[in-house]
Amino acid sequence: MRSTVLAILLVVAGTAWAAPAFDLARLMQLLAERPSSEAPYVERKYSALLSEPVVSSGTLAFRRPDVVEKNMEKPRRESFRIAGQELVFTRNGKAKRLALSSEPLLAAFAASLRGVLSGDAALLGEHYRLALTGTEPDWKLEMTPVDEEITRYVERIVVSGRAGRVAQIEVREASGDRSVLTVN
């Protein structure tokens, strides 16, 4: 009896020793180690109103410490840039500046991008309940909004990736619509 327990313990300890456990802290560490990046993306929007998804594309950039830029090029040019405590939305050459603190939805949206791209667990935890599944080479992070105000619009956000690289961001809206952004 006693030896069995000991054997199990040894096996568990052995696996733990062999490979560092993949948990949220490890994922955040990996994400945080990534340098600034800029990559093309394709986003597909699925909706009950649409017979086929609307596809848009452009580039998604992250510059340390906390600047996120999404430049949509197709079907038309439009961009937003999250920097400091502000989101600047530009279309038709007109910029609209919004303080992140002004709307909870805006703050939560900015936190989801910034938190994931910079590996900031504290920031993510402020707005979402986090559930990590998968392994280091193929992980999936489910983020469910904490604030009731947000759940009226967003049901959950699912981010997946390989090690320190974010590959896909899926946003499921409360209405049943969803968008899937794939980073190349």
Partner: protein, 768 residues
């Protein structure tokens, strides 16, 4: 028949007093509507002003600022408070800037979007136009900003609802944090609550304030609230005046009782001295109640001040008794002078009684009745009560400063000062009159400043300029207001006005609504156009069925009326801005940020066939106060003439009458000049106080001037005058220490005026 025994006489007097007191306690209806103290409103504009001041939107707006917590805590408190107050019967609504706060109102706007939309026209629903709208929507689908509008896309692809919300967005709103209104620095959360109670209803407002505080204490005990707004002012000023008057009244009563006790050394005498004022006040209140149907709370407060003069009457008699003499004998001796003292006060109060301010008229009547009854009580009842009893008290000697009286220079100084004051007042006239209604407000300046800064930060309306569009019916008035919309938009573009808030935007005239509905295609046409527009687009063919259904429903729905907005903030607004006045309908469009009223007036005059007028509440209130000033001056002149006539007849000598009038005639301008020099402007309250100065000043002069029998009587008169003037100065000097502008104005004016009257009477009215 023998006199009833003394005890029976006192019992009878007490019984009479109790009966009168009980009677008035049962009958009296005290009213607190401050507008009784506003100038009478003769023109429609003035009636509009009074209506706005009493019940207008702005008058019922309560500004709430929350602090004492971090951003999250304050935002949570703001949400909870708005939610609770929204369901509170004391409030129409409470807004905090939160999204989705007024779901019912949003539903009304959504349901009626096709009669509300200025862009609704036949060409908006053609296949081409729909195609353009759908393409835009498709692009929006990809955009990050589409999340919020997507909920209504299937019902409203042409975007009427969003356009409506953009139009209704206020020009100036506070910054937003955590989704609710905040100060720019993020330390205070803001709410606006619309009370049900009218702004002037200080009790209703106090109850509403208490509701805010108690609700906040339940939902967020650590958060503090600052409340402001016209209603808060009404409630707070009432509380301040009440507590100040109470505290200072108690102090001065205490001092005067000590003074009376020191002079008379007899509780009976002290009680007797207070009797005439009590009877006078009761009788006056009853007469006002009978004539006006109610007594205004402020009248009551001021009347106690005005007939305060009558506290002096018994002293003029009692202190004049020689050792061993009954009061009856002294009353006979000073009777004529006392009668003149009473009648001159009646004459000056007549000026008030004839005023077209209801509050002042009440005050005048109360004073007239009060002093006559007090005079009779002093002259008849007190001697009757005392009967053969002789009051024994030490005749304190008040030294006459013979040297001062003999010297010529003090008279010369007084004369020069008076002439200088009159010249200065004439030169500066009319700058020293209060021309701003806010200036006669009893609210301390610090509170007004706090309100102004809060209002600025919140972008809360400070309505003083608006357009009044007239019509014989609600719909024609709305049409007139609607006709102004293009011009208003142009003026806004030109910077003539910063913003405007027209009810015609959310309640279009019935004809306009009908025209917009006619622009909607029937279901078959719309479906055909939509099919055409959807060709080749990624939308599902049946995606916009809700849109087709809504348009069909709109075509047959009854017109949008004010009733549809019942219980929403816009409903409250409409009730205040669409109103019937004197059988005419008025639609009020408030204008914000009007830099130059004259230019707007000019632009308005240039519009052909307009049924709209510019109403400038500040200008109207200044005009009203000017009118009041003219009326007050005219009536005071009348009162003065009457007083002079009375004195000439009563004293049977022009010379003697002049000697009595001169000190007061000099004391009044000197007092005004002193107050103006101290930076005050003369308002209604000062005027009331000056009338009291006139009354007591004439009394001093009359008694100084009365030819005495001997040096003993001269000394007794000096004692009476010393006692009376000291008690007046103590009472009103106390009031002058108050933090409340009304009480300070009255207190300061009377205290200064009484001292000046006494000194001048001693210098000029002395009989030789």
């Amino acid at each position: 028949m023998a006199w009833p025994r003394a005890a029976a006489r006192y019992a009878l007097a007490l019984l009479l007093f109790a009966a009168l007191g009980l009677f008035s306690a049962r009958l009296l209806r005290i009213e607190a509507d401050f507008s009784a103290f506003l100038p009478p409103s003769a023109t429609p504009e003035e009636r509009l002003l009074v209506a706005q001041l009493r019940d207008g939107l702005v008058a019922r707006l309560m500004l709430v600022a929350l602090d004492g917590g971090d951003e999250k805590t304050l935002a949570r408190a703001s949400r909870a408070l708005a939610e609770r107050l929204g369901h509170d019967p004391a409030f129409d609504y409470a807004a905090n800037g939160g999204a989705g706060q007024f779901a019912a109102q949003g539903e009304v706007l959504m349901r009626h979007r096709y009669v509300l939309g200025a862009e609704v026209a036949p060409q908006r629903f053609t296949a081409t136009a729909l195609r353009a709208a759908l393409e835009e929507n498709l692009a929006q689908m990809a955009s990050a900003s589409g999340l919020l509008t997507r909920g209504t896309l299937a019902r409203d692809p042409t975007g009427e609802f969003a356009a409506m919300l953009r139009r209704l967005e206020p020009a100036a709103a506070p910054a937003r944090r955590q989704g609710v209104w905040f100060s720019a620095d993020g330390t205070r959360a803001f709410l606006i609550a619309q009370t049900r109670a009218p702004g002037f209803d200080s009790e209703g407002q106090a109850a509403a304030m208490a509701r805010v505080r108690s609700t906040l204490a339940e939902v967020a005990p650590q958060v503090q609230a600052t409340l402001s707004g016209p209603g808060v002012f009404a409630a707070e000023s009432r509380r301040l005046i009440r507590s100040d008057a109470m505290r200072l009244g108690m102090i001065s009563t205490g001092v005067i009782l000590v003074l009376l006790a020191f002079v008379y050394r007899s509780p009976l005498a002290v009680a007797l001295v207070l009797t005439p004022t009590a009877f006078g006040l009761l009788a006056g209140v009853l007469v006002v109640q009978a004539l006006f149907g109610s007594v205004h709370a402020i009248t009551l407060g001021f009347a106690a001040t005005l007939i305060g003069e009558s506290v002096d009457y018994p002293s003029y008699i009692l202190l004049n008794t020689q050792p061993g003499e009954t009061a009856r004998a002294a009353a006979r001796r000073v009777g004529r002078t006392l009668m003149l003292a009473v009648l001159t006060t009646v004459a000056s109060a007549m000026a008030l009684a004839l005023s077209s301010f209801q509050g002042l008229a009440q005050l005048g009547v109360l004073t007239m009745v009060g002093v006559v009854v007090a005079g009779l009580t002093s002259h008849r009842m007190i001697p009757w009560l005392l009967g053969e009893r002789v009051l024994d008290f030490p005749r304190l000697r008040v030294p006459a400063s013979a040297a001062l009286a003999a010297a010529r220079w003090p008279r010369a100084v007084a004369f020069v000062a008076t002439a200088g004051s009159i010249a200065a007042l004439v030169a500066l006239h009319p700058d020293w009159w209060e021309r701003d209604l806010a200036g006669i407000s009893p609210v301390p300046a610090a509170m007004r400043a706090q309100d102004a800064s809060l209002r600025r930060e919140m972008g809360a309306p400070e309505v003083s300029v608006f357009l009044a569009s007239r019509g014989s019916s609600e719909s024609t008035a709305l049409e007139a207001a609607e006709a102004m919309l293009p011009a208003l938009e142009r003026w806004q573009g030109e910077g003539l006005i910063r913003s405007f808030d027209s009810p015609a935007r959310y309640l279009p005239a019935p004809a306009t609504q009908a025209a917009r509905l006619r622009a909607l295609p029937d279901a078959t046409t719309l479906e055909a156009n939509l099919r055409e527009a959807l060709k080749g687009l990624a939308f599902r063919p049946d995606a916009f069925q809700p849109f087709v259904r809504d348009v069909a429903a709109a075509r047959t729905s009854p017109p949008l009326t004010r009733a549809a907005y019942a219980g929403t903030p816009l409903g409250t607004k409409l009730n205040a801005q669409v109103l019937e006045l004197d059988g005419q309908w008025l639609v009020l469009t408030s204008l914000g940020g009007v830099a130059d009223t004259a230019r707007v007036r000019g632009a308005l005059a240039a519009l052909p066939g307009s049924h709209t007028q510019l109403v400038d509440l500040k200008q109207i209130s200044a005009d009203m106060l000017d009118g009041f000033r003219r009326e007050a001056l005219r009536q005071s002149a009348l009162g003065a003439l009457l007083i002079v006539a009375l004195l000439v007849v009563g004293l049977r000598s022009l010379r003697r009458a002049a000697r009595v009038v001169a000190p007061v005639a000099a004391a009044l301008p000197l007092t005004v000049a002193l107050l103006v020099a101290m930076g005050q402007r003369m308002g209604v309250f000062h005027l009331v106080a000056l009338l009291l100065v006139l009354g007591i000043g004439l009394n001093y002069a009359l008694f100084f001037e009365r030819p005495p029998a001997d040096e003993a009587e001269r000394s007794r008169t000096r004692l009476a005058l010393a006692l009376c003037s000291t008690s007046t100065v103590v009472t009103f000097g106390c009031l002058a220490l108050s933090a409340t502008p009304v009480l300070r104005a009255i207190g300061g004016t009377v205290a200064i005026g009484a001292v000046l009257s006494l000194v001048l009477a001693a210098l000029w009215a002395r009989s030789r």
